[in-house]
C-alpha cells in the first residue's frame, strides 16, 4: 500500500558553510547585553581606549570625550565617571593591583587617580604628571609587579618614564620622529616596554639601559596604531595600515607573519582567549584586532590563521577582553560600545553563591506522592520509562503530520485547501499547494471559484510574493492569469483595486531592478571575457 505524502515545498539550497566551527560558536556566544548598549549609545564621541582591571572582578575603564568611565566588573553598568579632564582623555591603564588608574589627556598631562573612588576623592587626581609638550596618547603601567612607575608617550615624539610617587620624570627616551600613539609593557618584565609611532617604527626600551636608547627597532612600514606584547613576552604584534604583523623579539626582531585581511586601518589590538572544555589546551590565546572597516577579526597566531571575523555597523576604535574570558568590549568611533558577555557556567556560579553565604543550602527533596487512580497522571505513569538493555522495543508507527491543506487536498476540496494555505502565511507552503493543484489541473478552477474575500487574500499574496525570485516563475504567470480571469470582480471592489495598484507598483519596481541588473551585467561581461582570455 502506498503511503500518504504531505505536500512539501521545494527544497532550498543550503549553504555549505552553514555549520559554525567551534571557535566561531565561542565568539558568537558573547551576547550583547541590551541595557549597556542603550546607555552607551547616548553619547557620540569616540571610545578612544578600553582597559580591564587585572584583578577580579575586572572592572572596565573606558575613555570617552573628557571622561574616564568605570564599569563595575560584575554588572558592567556604567556607574560613574571617575575622572574628568580639561581635554579629551586617552589611554586608560590600570596598575597591576587594580587600585590605581592612569590616563593621559590631549594637552599632554598624565593623570593618576583611584580606580574605585570614594565620594571624597571623586574627580580628583592623586597625581598629575606634566612634561609632554603635546597630547599624551600613551600611558601604561608596567604589568608584572612594579607599582611605582609608569611610562607615557606623546605627540611630541618623546617617551617618558615616570616615578609616580614623586611626580617626577625619571628620564625621557628619544628616538621616535613622529607621534607616539601606542605602546605596551612587557607581561614578564617590569623593565621592558615597547612603543609604536607614526614614523613606522616600533622601539623596544629597557629602563635598565636607558642611556643607550632603544634596544631594538622594528619597521612596520605604516604608521603604527597599536602594539601589544603576546603573553610569552617574546613576541609582539603591531597594527598599522590595514595589516597586523607578528614579530619575534627574542629571535632578534624577526618578522613572523603579516596578517592582511582588514580593508581599512587597524586601530586596536588586544589579547583574547578561547576557553574550551577542560584539558591541556583548554585555553588558547588569540589576537583580536579591530579596524575602521567595522570588522573584528580573531587571529590564531600559533597557526597564523584567522579563525573568526565579525562585522559591526560602525568603524571600530578600541577593543578589550577581560582576563576571566567572560567579556569582550569593542568601542566605536561613534561612541557605541559593544559589550559582549558570555553566560558563566552554572556550576561555577553556584560555587560562588555558596561561598558568599558560607553555608550549603539544604534543599528538601519534595516528597514523592503515591499516585492513585483518582489522578490523571496515574494513567500516564511509566510512559517516560527508559527501555532497559534487554528490552524488546516495539516502535510506535510514526504518524504522518498533515496540515490543514493536506487534509483538504486528500478530500479533493481544492479551493478550501488553497485558501487554508493562503491563510497560513508561509509563502513556500502556498506555492507548494499551488504546484500540487497544477499537477491536478485544478488551479485555475480554484481561482475562478474564489469569492471576494478569498480573492483579496490571493491578490495580497501575489502582490507580496510574485516578485520573489524563488516563486516568480509560477506566480507571475498566475498573477497575469488571475487578472485576466477575474477582471470584473477586481474592477468592482475598491479593495481589489488597491491590491492591483500595489501589484503594479511592485512589478514596475522589479522591472527597474531587472533593468539595472542588465546594465550591470553589460558592464561586467566584457571584463569577464577579457579575464577569461588571459
Amino acid at each position: 500500500m502506498a503511503e500518504s505524502f504531505p505536500v512539501k515545498p521545494k527544497l532550498k539550497p543550503t549553504a555549505s558553510k552553514n555549520t559554525l566551527s567551534p571557535e566561531s560558536k565561542y565568539w558568537k556566544s558573547f551576547k550583547v547585553l541590551k541595557e549597556i548598549d542603550a546607555v552607551s549609545k547616548s553619547s557620540v564621541f569616540a571610545i578612544t581606549s578600553l582597559s580591564f582591571s587585572p584583578v577580579a572582578p575586572h572592572d572596565l575603564a573606558a575613555t570617552q570625550c573628557t571622561n574616564v568611565i568605570r564599569f563595575p566588573g560584575k554588572t558592567l553598568i556604567p556607574k560613574s565617571k571617575i575622572a574628568s579632564f580639561p581635554d579629551t582623555s586617552a589611554s586608560a591603564s590600570f596598575r597591576c593591583d587594580g587600585q590605581l588608574l592612569a590616563a593621559g589627556d590631549l594637552r599632554g598631562g598624565v593623570h593618576v587617580f583611584e580606580a574605585k573612588p570614594t565620594s571624597l576623592s571623586k574627580l580628583k587626581d592623586l597625581r598629575r604628571l606634566k612634561g609632554h609638550a603635546a597630547a599624551a596618547r600613551l600611558v601604561r603601567y608596567p604589568r608584572a609587579s612594579d607599582k611605582f612607575h609608569l611610562f607615557s608617550g606623546g605627540d611630541d615624539s618623546v617617551v617618558k618614564y615616570w616615578d609616580i610617587a614623586e611626580e617626577k620624570c625619571l628620564f625621557s627616551l628619544f628616538g621616535h620622529k613622529d607621534y607616539v600613539r601606542c605602546g605596551d609593557a612587557s607581561p614578564v618584565s617590569d623593565e621592558m616596554f615597547v612603543s609604536g609611532s607614526y614614523d613606522h617604527k616600533i622601539k623596544l626600551w629597557d629602563v635598565r639601559v636607558s642611556s643607550v636608547g632603544s634596544v631594538m627597532e622594528l619597521n612596520h612600514e605604516k604608521p603604527v596604531e597599536s602594539v601589544i606584547y603576546l603573553p610569552s613576552g617574546g613576541l609582539i604584534a603591531t597594527a598599522g595600515g590595514n595589516f597586523v604583523k607578528i614579530w619575534d623579539v627574542i629571535g632578534g626582531g624577526r618578522l613572523l607573519y603579516s596578517m592582511e585581511s582588514h580593508n581599512k586601518t587597524v586601530t586596536a589590538l588586544c589579547m583574547g582567549k578561547v576557553v574550551r572544555g577542560n584539558g591541556d589546551d583548554a585555553e588558547q590565546n588569540r589576537i583580536l584586532s579591530v579596524s575602521l572597516d567595522g570588522y573584528m577579526k580573531v587571529f590564531d597566531y600559533s597557526k597564523f590563521k584567522i579563525t573568526h571575523s565579525m562585522k559591526f555597523p560602525e568603524p571600530l576604535m578600541s577593543v578589550a577582553f577581560s582576563p576571566d574570558c567572560s567579556t569582550r568590549v569593542i568601542g566605536t568611533a561613534k561612541g557605541t560600545m559593544y559589550i559582549g558577555r558570555r553566560k558563566a557556567k552554572v556550576g561555577t556560579e553556584k560555587n560562588s553563591l555558596g561561598d558568599q553565604f558560607g553555608f550549603g543550602a539544604v534543599v528538601d527533596e519534595p516528597q514523592r506522592k503515591v499516585l492513585r487512580p483518582s489522578h490523571f497522571r496515574y494513567f500516564h505513569r511509566g510512559q517516560n520509562q527508559k527501555p532497559l538493555e534487554g528490552d524488546y522495543l516495539i516502535k510506535r508507527q510514526k504518524k504522518v503530520k498533515l496540515a490543514v491543506y493536506d487534509k483538504l487536498l486528500n478530500k479533493f476540496r481544492h479551493k478550501e485547501a488553497l485558501v487554508a494555505a493562503l491563510n497560513g502565511k508561509n509563502p513556500s507552503n502556498v506555492v507548494a499547494v499551488m504546484e500540487e493543484l497544477v499537477a491536478r489541473k485544478k488551479l485555475l478552477k480554484c481561482v475562478s471559484n474564489l469569492d471576494g474575500v478569498e480573492l483579496g487574500l490571493l491578490m495580497g499574496f501575489l502582490q507580496k510574493c510574485s516578485t520573489m525570485p524563488r516563486y516568480a516563475g509560477l506566480l507571475t504567470k498566475l498573477a497575469k492569469k488571475v487578472v485576466e480571469m477575474r477582471a470584473d470582480d477586481i474592477r468592482s471592489s475598491v479593495e481589489q483595486r488597491n491590491h492591483i495598484r500595489n501589484l503594479k507598483r511592485d512589478v514596475e519596481e522589479e522591472l527597474r531592478v531587472q533593468q539595472s541588473l542588465l546594465e550591470v551585467q553589460g558592464i561586467i561581461s566584457p571584463m569577464l571575457r577579457i579575464a577569461g582570455k588571459r
Partner: protein, 771 residues
C-alpha cells in the same frame, strides 16, 4: 534463452484448497506462489498460448484439502487438468476454439451431492470463432459453449449465446447460475444441479442504460450486483423469481407484489433494483462476501470499498495505488487477494483489510504513455547486474532482476500522492543508471496547466552498498531553465553525467567529491555548460551508440525518413546505412557487434497493417560493425516501445557457466508490454544450457502455528514409548486462533461456528495420532 516478465493480472488467480498457494496465470504458464512468503514455488507449463482461466477443484471434505487439482483453459483451445502439487499434467481436452473464459459449475455444487455416483463434469466456455475472425464484416464473434469434460468433447449443437466480443463468464458461488455481461445488458442462465448433455436452459436478461463492466452473484439469495462504466453499482433483488422458480420458493424473498418493482426496467425479471454511486469511474471489481452480508467493489480509483448490503454503509481500503482488476477470496476466510493493473497481487488479511503481502511482477507500461511519447523513455538496463529499471505510473522506478524474474526493489522518485484515475501530469521521463549501478539519475516533468507551473527536476540517487536501496542525493530544479531535458547519459567508470536539453545547451554534472576530494558533501554539481550553435539538442537522430571498443558509431533517426547509419570515427565518414526504422540499438561491450530492433510495420513498408501499432511484429537484427549484412535475426512481437541491451551472462559469478569466453554477453529484449527474452546472441546450441534462469524453488516450509501453540508456544516434547510413530505432516486448519479474533466484532463469525471449527481441528489431530 529464457523469457520472463509476464503479466500476473491478465486473468483472475485462484487459491489452492488450503489457501497456502496461489495459482496465477502468467502468459503460457500457470505460476504457483506461496501465500506465506510471496515467492514462486512452481510452474505449470504446457499451454501453447496465453492461459485465460484457472479453476482449482474444491475440496468436498476436509480430508481432501490436500488434493491439488486444477483445470486451466487457454487461447490455444485446450483445457488441461493438472495436479499442481507435483506438478503434473493429467488430461488435455482440445476444443479448437480460443477459450477466453471458463467456469465449471458442477465443481461448486458437487459438495451438496450425497450419492457417490459420479456425474459428467461440464464446463461453460466463452470462445472466439476463429473462422469468423478473418471476416471483418461480422461483428459477433464470441459464443458461450458447453463442454463435457468427462468425455472430453464439446456438447454439440448447444450454443448458449452469441456475443460480440468473447468476455468473461461469471458464476455464482453456489454454482447454479452463470452470467455474462455485454454492453448494456446482463445475460443469466440457471444451471440445474444435475447437469446433462442436453438440457434446456432458462435465461433472463437485465438491462441498463450504461455499459456494464462487472457483475457478481450473491452466494445464497437471488441478488445480483453489476457495475457500469460511470461507477454506479446496481443491485437487483429477487432476480429471476418468475423464470427460475420451479415450484419451490426461495425463502427470505421480498413480498410478491406484481406491480411494485422499484427501479427495475420493464421486462426485466427482478423484484427491485437499487443503485449505489461512489466510484467516480468504471467499476472493475464486484464480489459478495461468503456470508452474503457485504459487497466488495473497486475500480480505477484504487480503493476497495466494502458495502454493507442491507444498509449501504461503506468502509474503505484506500491507497492501493493502482486500479483494481480482480478480487478473489480464498477457502481460508481470513485471506483474500486483489489483483491490480500494475501487475501486483495484494494478499489481504480479511476482516481487518490489511495488506499482508504483495506478489509483484514487472510493472506494465502506462496505458496512456503514448500520449507523451516525446517525453517518455522505456526501461533502462544495468549491464553488469542483469537488472532493468522500469519507470512506473505512480512516480516510482522498479528494479527487476532479469535472471530471477523477480522484483528487486522500488524507489519513490517523486513524493506525491498518486491517484490512478487522474490524468498524467507528473511523469518520470528519463532514468539513467551508471555502469556499476551505484548511481541513478532521473528526470521528472510536471506538465503545466495552461502554461503555468511546469517544472523539470533532475535528481541524482546514490545506492547504499549494504542495503542496495537508492537514496536521494541531489535535486536540481529546472536544470536547463525551462527547457525540457532530451536525454541524460552517464560516463562509464566515472561519476559524471551529461544532460542535454531542448533549449540548446548541455550540461556536465559531476559529483562534488570528484573536484574537491576532501569535501564531505556528496552532492552533484554542475561542472560545465556547453552548446552547439545554440541549436536544440533534439535532432531527428534518436539513438547514438559507440560500438563496443571499436572506432565505430551507430546512429538511428526516426520520422519520415528513418535511417540507420554506421559511421567510422577514425575516417569521419559513413560506412553503410539502411533506410530502416530502429526502435532500439544495443551494442556489445566486448566486441564490435550490435543489435537493432526494427518494427516490421516499417521494415516491410507494405502499409497494409494499419492500426496495430501496439502489437506490431518486429525483428532483432544482429550486425557486425564492418559488415552491413546482419549475421543473425530473430523475429519478436510487440516491438513498438521495446528495448534491447547486452547484459553480462554471469552477474554473480555463477560457477555453472562453463565457457565464459564465448557466451560472455547475452542479449536481452524487453517488449513493449514489458515481457522480456534473454538470449545468446551467437546462437550456439551448446551455450543454451549455460543460460538457464536461476530458479529458486522456495518450499512451503513456513508453517503457521495454531491452536494451543499459537497462544502459549510449543509444548516440550514428550518421550513416551507409545509415541514412537512420528507425526505425519497433517493438513493444517486454516482457522488459527490468532486470526479468528482479528477485525471488528460485527464481522466475527458466530460462536457456535468458531467452536465447531476449533473442535474439528483438534479431533482431526487426534485421529492422525491414532493412525
Amino acid at each position: 534463452m529464457f523469457t520472463g516478465g509476464k503479466s500476473f493480472v491478465s486473468s483472475p488467480p485462484a487459491f489452492s484448497n488450503d489457501a497456502k498457494r496461489l495459482l496465477v496465470c502468467t502468459g503460457n504458464t500457470v505460476s504457483i506462489f506461496s501465500t506465506s512468503t510471496g515467492l514462486q514455488t512452481g510452474e505449470l507449463e504446457g499451454h501453447g498460448a496465453k492461459v485465460t482461466s484457472v479453476i482449482v477443484v474444491p475440496a468436498s471434505t476436509p480430508a481432501s484439502k490436500v488434493l491439488c487439482y486444477c483445470w486451466t483453459s487457454s487461447l490455444d483451445g485446450n483445457i488441461k487438468y493438472w495436479d499442481f502439487a507435483a506438478p503434473e499434467l493429467m488430461k488435455t481436452i482440445d476444443i479448437r476454439f480460443p477459450i477466453h473464459s471458463m467456469v465449471i459449475p458442477s465443481l461448486l455444487s458437487q459438495t451438496t451431492e450425497s450419492s457417490g455416483k459420479i456425474h459428467d463434469v461440464f464446463a461453460y466456455v466463452s470462445t472466439e470463432d476463429v473462422k469468423l475472425k478473418a471476416d471483418k464484416t461480422i461483428s459477433v464473434r464470441g459464443q458461450i459453449q458447453k463442454c463435457n469434460l468427462t468425455k472430453s468433447r464439446l456438447v454439440g449443437g448447444l450454443e448458449l449465446a452469441k456475443i460480440e466480443r468473447p468476455g468473461s463468464i461469471i458464476i455464482s458461488p453456489s454454482g447454479n447460475q452463470i452470467g455474462v455481461y455485454e454492453k448494456c445488458k446482463l445475460l443469466i442462465w440457471e444451471i440445474p444441479a444435475k447437469d446433462l448433455d442436453q438440457h434446456c436452459f432458462k435465461k433472463i436478461r437485465l438491462h441498463h442504460t450504461k455499459s456494464f463492466t462487472a457483475m457478481a452473484f450473491h452466494p445464497t439469495e437471488r441478488i445480483l450486483a453489476a457495475g457500469d462504466v460511470t461507477g454506479r453499482i446496481l443491485v437487483w433483488r429477487g432476480v429471476g423469481r418468475k423464470t427460475f422458480s420451479n415450484g419451490k420458493l426461495i425463502n427470505g424473498g421480498l413480498n410478491e407484489d406484481e406491480d411494485d418493482s422499484p427501479g427495475v426496467r420493464s421486462g426485466d425479471d427482478a423484484d427491485s433494483c437499487t443503485t449505489w454511486h461512489w466510484h467516480s469511474s468504471q467499476v472493475n471489481v464486484l464480489f459478495f462476501s461468503s456470508d452474503g452480508a457485504y459487497l466488495y467493489s473497486g475500480g480505477r480509483e484504487g480503493v476497495l470499498v466494502v458495502w454493507q448490503l442491507d444498509t449501504g454503509k461503506k468502509k474503505f481500503l484506500p491507497r492501493i495505488g493502482s486500479p483494481l482488476l480482480y478480487y478473489i477470496n480464498s477457502p481460508d476466510p481470513t485471506l483474500s487477494s486483489i489483483s491490480c493493473t500494475d501487475n501486483r497481487i495484494q494478499l489481504l488479511r480479511m476482516p481487518s483489510m490489511e495488506i499482508v503481502r504483495s506478489i509483484s511482477g514487472i510493472k506494465l507500461p502506462s496505458s496512456r504513455a503514448e500520449m507523451y511519447d516525446a517525453y517518455g523513455s522505456g526501461v533502462v538496463f544495468n549491464h553488469t547486474a542483469g537488472l532493468i529499471a522500469v519507470p512506473t505510473e505512480n512516480y516510482r522506478v522498479q528494479f527487476y532482476s532479469l535472471f530471477d524474474d523477480r522484483e528487486v526493489s522500488e524507489v519513490q522518485i517523486c513524493e506525491r500522492n498518486h491517484h490512478p484515475s487522474d490524468d498524467i501530469t507528473v511523469k518520470v521521463n528519463l532514468v539513467a543508471l551508471s555502469q556499476d549501478g551505484s548511481t541513478m539519475s532521473t528526470v521528472e516533468t510536471r506538465l503545466p496547466e495552461e502554461g503555468i507551473g511546469g517544472l523539470v527536476s533532475l535528481k541524482f540517487w546514490a545506492c547504499d552498498s549494504q542495503s542496495k536501496q537508492f537514496s536521494l542525493s541531489t535535486i536540481i530544479y529546472e536544470p536547463h531553465r525551462e527547457a525540457a531535458i532530451s536525454s541524460i547519459a552517464f560516463r562509464p567508470a566515472s561519476h559524471m553525467v551529461v544532460s542535454s536539453s531542448h533549449g540548446g545547451d548541455f550540461k556536465v554534472w559531476v559529483r562534488r567529491q570528484e573536484i574537491h576530494p576532501k569535501d564531505q558533501n556528496t552532492g552533484w554539481t554542475c561542472h560545465a555548460v556547453g552548446s552547439y550553435k545554440k541549436k536544440p539538442l533534439t535532432a531527428p537522430i534518436t539513438t547514438l551508440s559507440f560500438v563496443g571498443k571499436s572506432s565505430y558509431l551507430v546512429s538511428a533517426s526516426r520520422g519520415a525518413d528513418p535511417l540507420l547509419t554506421m559511421w567510422s570515427m577514425s575516417k569521419l565518414c559513413t560506412i553503410w546505412s539502411y533506410r530502416l526504422h530502429a526502435e532500439a540499438i544495443a551494442s556489445s561491450m566486448l566486441n564490435s557487434t550490435f543489435a537493432v530492433l526494427a518494427p516490421s510495420k516499417l521494415l516491410k513498408s507494405t502499409g497494409s497493417t494499419a492500426g496495430t501499432s501496439q502489437g506490431a511484429e518486429g525483428a532483432i537484427l544482429l550486425f557486425n560493425a564492418e559488415n552491413p549484412v546482419p549475421f543473425a535475426t530473430w523475429s519478436v512481437s510487440k516491438a513498438q516501445g521495446g528495448r534491447l541491451s547486452f547484459i553480462q551472462s554471469s552477474p554473480f559469478s555463477d560457477n555453472d557457466v562453463a565457457d565464459t569466453t564465448t557466451a560472455g554477453e547475452l542479449l536481452a529484449y524487453v517488449s513493449g508490454c514489458h515481457e522480456y527474452v534473454v538470449l545468446s546472441p551467437h546462437g550456439d546450441q551448446d551455450s543454451k544450457l549455460s543460460i538457464s534462469r536461476r530458479r529458486n524453488s522456495s518450499s512451503l516450509d513456513e508453517t503457521e502455528r495454531f491452536g494451543y501453540a499459537s497462544i502459549y508456544g510449543e509444548l516440550p516434547e514428550f518421550t513416551m514409548e507409545i509415541d514412537q510413530t512420528p507425526f505425519e505432516s497433517m493438513p493444517q486448519s486454516e482457522k488459527t486462533w490468532k486470526t479468528i479474533f482479528s477485525g471488528p466484532s460485527h464481522s466475527l463469525p458466530p460462536l457456535p461456528k468458531l467452536c465447531s471449527d476449533f473442535l474439528e481441528s483438534l479431533l482431526e489431530r487426534r485421529s492422525t495420532v491414532v493412525e
